[in-house]
Assembly symmetry: C2
Homo-oligomer: 252 residues x 2
DNA sequence: CGACACGTTGAGATATATCAAACGTGGTGG
DNA sequence: CCACCACGTTTGATATATCTCAACGTGTCG
């Protein structure tokens, strides 16, 4: 599989041309497989290349004093996991795999070469890092304004939409081989409480999360519980099985 | 006052040269004053220019279904409030003033002109938007892992450090003309609980927040309660009155 | 088969929210 | 200059969501 096939797939901003995609592809110097739950980068390390996720799931996280981690980003195939490390040079967080993963590496020198000659391309890469920032903001909304059920539902709805955009969800379910503890580190809850929320969702026939798979029984209700409005993902309108709320509701 | 004087002041990344600063200054087409609590931009609006905050405080926020807002970013003088609107074109959140504010406007056409001819400068602007993303991530940590006292303390410690970098805090106190309700919308708490936390901080002689002013009695304790580690701000080492934790503690 | 990681459940503790009311205080109009 | 109003702050009593601790269940893999 080409590494860059999924990058910015079905996004409304920063759409890459075939030429740009090919150039990025050529800049890949290394492809490899990472085991599950492996740390790729520690907070504070200097970077000389960036990582494209081709298959599997990765996270970015920050630890507190007791070593409990807060996951601040969740990555799906096609995500340029640490492209922001190119302009920033040092990262303020760590990066790890959640599942076994396949990655491709692009040296910063190559990115420099590509962007020095092509302002438009540089602007697209810039925009792609801002999509991550947009997702950060929605996560802030999630943690600051939603209760436990809303947070879990929001993550499941968001992941459904993102996976839909890359062909890994048809809107009725998707594979998600992560633990309830991972989910708790994403949602700022305890794994025990996540478990109770999941039971409630199962009993209420909203969705199930069992043996590494999410089955969505009632997408509309899931997204309502989550107050999910996919605007922030900048996805093409027809992508994914997302019902989405009538925009007026949220904007009203 | 020159609009761009404070932009990226005392940051370790994306430091601007005098020439770059002057060019940005020349790109300013408009300066004006905004009243307190005025909305500058609504989520979803298309943008043709970006806003530099010169004086006062502004926020970016997302509303939930009941119209309660979650503040996702807090801006101090010298911040390019919506530079990310240049590559993104449409924003996923709203922007408003908290206090009376003074702003300068830079048209996107001018930004295009400046960056088309200067790749290095473009990369710096890119990096500056990534500093915001870094702050978003720390806020996720704050909401996901800290209790009420920690969250309030974290915001006060962060603001102390950021204001220190632009000469508006000497580490013992600073002006912060916002309400406890604003604070609650930043920290994801109720204003009543924020009030109780503030009382505790006052009684414990950590800091006071009264009549629009923060007085820090014990910065080290404030930062410990907040688990505050300013790495994510990418500030010059000697700036601000921040004590900061020994890095080893947090990284361990 | 046993070990280990992950999931599930219950009982009780605790942090934070909610509801209600009183208290400043600065600004405005009479 | 006073009276009043609006807004923000403060406090108390009570409700509730989530956490903590502890135990038990279940599937997978060596």
């Amino acid at each position: 599989m080409k590494s860059m096939n999924l990058f910015l797939r079905n996004r409304t901003v920063a759409k890459l041309s075939d030429v740009e995609r090919a150039r990025l592809e050529q800049a890949v110097t290394d492809r490899r497989r990472l085991p599950a739950r492996a740390t790729l980068l520690e907070r504070g390390e200097a970077l000389s290349h960036s990582t494209m996720l081709i298959a599997g799931f990765m996270i970015r996280y920050i630890d507190d004093l007791e070593g409990r981690r807060q996951i601040v980003a969740f990555h799906v195939p096609g995500d340029f996991v640490d492209l922001h490390g190119y302009p920033l040079k040092v990262l303020d967080h760590s990066i790890a795999t959640l599942t076994q993963a396949q990655i491709a590496t692009v040296p910063h020198a190559a990115l420099k070469r590509l962007t020095d000659n092509d302002v438009e391309f540089a602007r697209k890469l810039w925009a792609s890092t801002l999509l991550d920032a947009s997702t950060h903001r929605e996560w802030l909304f999630r943690l600051g304004r939603l209760d436990a059920a809303g947070r879990v539902a929001h993550f499941l709805a968001e992941t459904n939409a993102r996976l839909g955009a890359i062909g890994l969800s048809d809107g009725t379910g998707y594979d998600l081989p992560i633990t309830q503890t991972d989910l708790s580190e994403i949602t700022g809850l305890t794994s025990i409480h996540v478990n109770r929320v999941l039971r409630m969702m199962r009993e209420e026939r909203v969705c199930t999360f069992r043996s590494s798979r999410v089955e969505i029984a009632d997408l509309e209700r899931l997204e309502r519980i989550a107050q999910f409005d996919p605007t922030y993902l900048y996805l093409e309108a027809d992508v994914a099985g997302t019902q989405s709320l009538d925009k007026e509701i949220r904007h009203g």
